[in-house]
């Protein structure tokens, strides 16, 4: 019972942190930098869940986060969830082959995950959307892949800290191992 209570607290806190991060991206960033593409901070949450949580927990929490994210934009919900599931599968496959604990891996993975997400989104848009993407916007996508890792370290430590507070045991204990 206590374990379930901590898990629910963890999920609520995770949603709150996601809202704070996404609000920063969609409101604070755009009011200061205008049309300059913002970092995909919300994607870092999915990456963290995929890397450091058990599969069922990760997918369940990712779906919950996707419900919240849907209200921050106009991306179709089904497409958003499908993108996240495919991204999860790819991250899982890569992690089984290359992985080392610590924030550096998370930073590198965040850059790759941003690029992979963009590719998945373009393909899924062409496959499933009634009105698919009409322009690739290469500059915006590359810029986002460069800028998103800058926010990876704070997100990593915040989510790790929240896990400790809510007594959630990560799948693989991350440490400060040097490359």
């Amino acid at each position: 019972m206590r374990k379930i209570s901590y898990f629910l607290l963890h999920a609520i806190g995770l949603i709150f942190l996601l809202v704070v991060a996404t609000g920063f991206q969609t409101s604070f960033w755009t009011l200061f930098f205008g049309a300059l593409p913002g970092p995909m901070i919300w994607l870092l949450f999915f990456l963290y869940l995929a890397l450091y949580r058990r599969p069922i927990e990760a997918i369940g929490l990712s779906y919950l986060c996707a419900v919240q994210l849907y209200f921050f934009g106009w991306i179709p919900f089904g497409l958003l969830v499908l993108n996240i599931v495919i991204l999860y599968g790819i991250i899982h496959l890569v992690k089984e082959r290359i992985f080392w604990p610590g924030p550096r891996y998370f930073v590198i993975a965040s850059c790759l995950a941003t690029l992979i997400y963009q590719i998945i989104y373009i393909f899924n848009s062409w496959l499933f959307e009634l009105i698919p993407i009409r322009e690739i916007m290469l500059f915006e996508r590359i810029f986002q892949a460069i800028i998103t890792p800058l926010f990876a370290i704070p997100v990593f430590y915040v989510l790790k800290g929240w896990e400790r507070i809510t007594h959630q045991t990560p799948l693989i204990e991350s440490g400060e191992v040097e490359l």
């Binding site: 920063f24 969609t26 009011l31 049309a35 058990r54 849907y70 209200f71 934009g73 496959l93």
Partner: protein, 306 residues
Amino acid sequence: MNFVSLDLRKILLLIPIISLPLISINMQQMPRPSDWYGEPFALLASRTQSLYSWFSNEVRGTTSLYINLIDIKRDNFTLRGENAELRAQLATMTELKLENERLNQLFAFKQKTKMDLLAAKVIGRDLSADHATIMVDRGSNDGVKPMQAVMTIEGAVGYVFRVEPNTSRVMLITDRYSVVDGLVQRSRARGLVEGKSTDACLLKYVNKSADVVTGDLIVTSGLDGIFPKGLPIATVEIVNKKPYTVTLDVELKPVVNPNKVEELFIVRGANQVDLEEPKIPETAAPSPAEKNPEMSSSSAPKVEHQ
């Protein structure tokens, strides 16, 4: 859990995981009112964006004050020189200002009598760079409803598609899901204006024989029941006449840069409004500009009410 080596249990687990997004995509084809379970999430999103908007405005104000203090000495010297120059221009400007005020009063009066406008401020933009939507600080408490037009003085910006009590989400005309019924102002050729990217639109389904040239202004037709008739949407950038097709490929540049919009108007009851001037034959009656030379000034608003 190793997902590469599959067994029956994992397959049974994968079925609901994969089927949920596919079912969601399928259900998306059927428009329906927002569900009760989405409301707390929507409320949370809109409240957060309002809070960030307020916070960033405060931060921007404070930081700009300190930056200005650093530069104030240097600016003072420059401004003294400019002051002398500006005094000379003041006399000319006063005359133009008076003229502009008169025209603005005329415009405002006509606007008051014809259109029910609600001023709103942009407080957030879309999560994804692939979609062009914005959030504004007006909602159902202010009388905003879905499918109400959003505009600036220059022209059309988009339309409201999701309303919360204190905020609304607006689909910009540059979003690929946006469709606005449009007319070429000069030749009256009809087509649908669809979004293409962050700063471009397309005019689709225009007959190949239609008279469309670069620089033509595209205005709203009013037939979609969202926008008032005659509101500028975009100007024609490129016209492609491809062989073996029945329609033209027309690329447009919006008259309002949606990335720079900060304040805008929500139009309530737009379908009762016609913004286009009546077409009066030159021989039958003089134009308003001929009647009143002041109206032909460059400062006169281009959009006129009927």
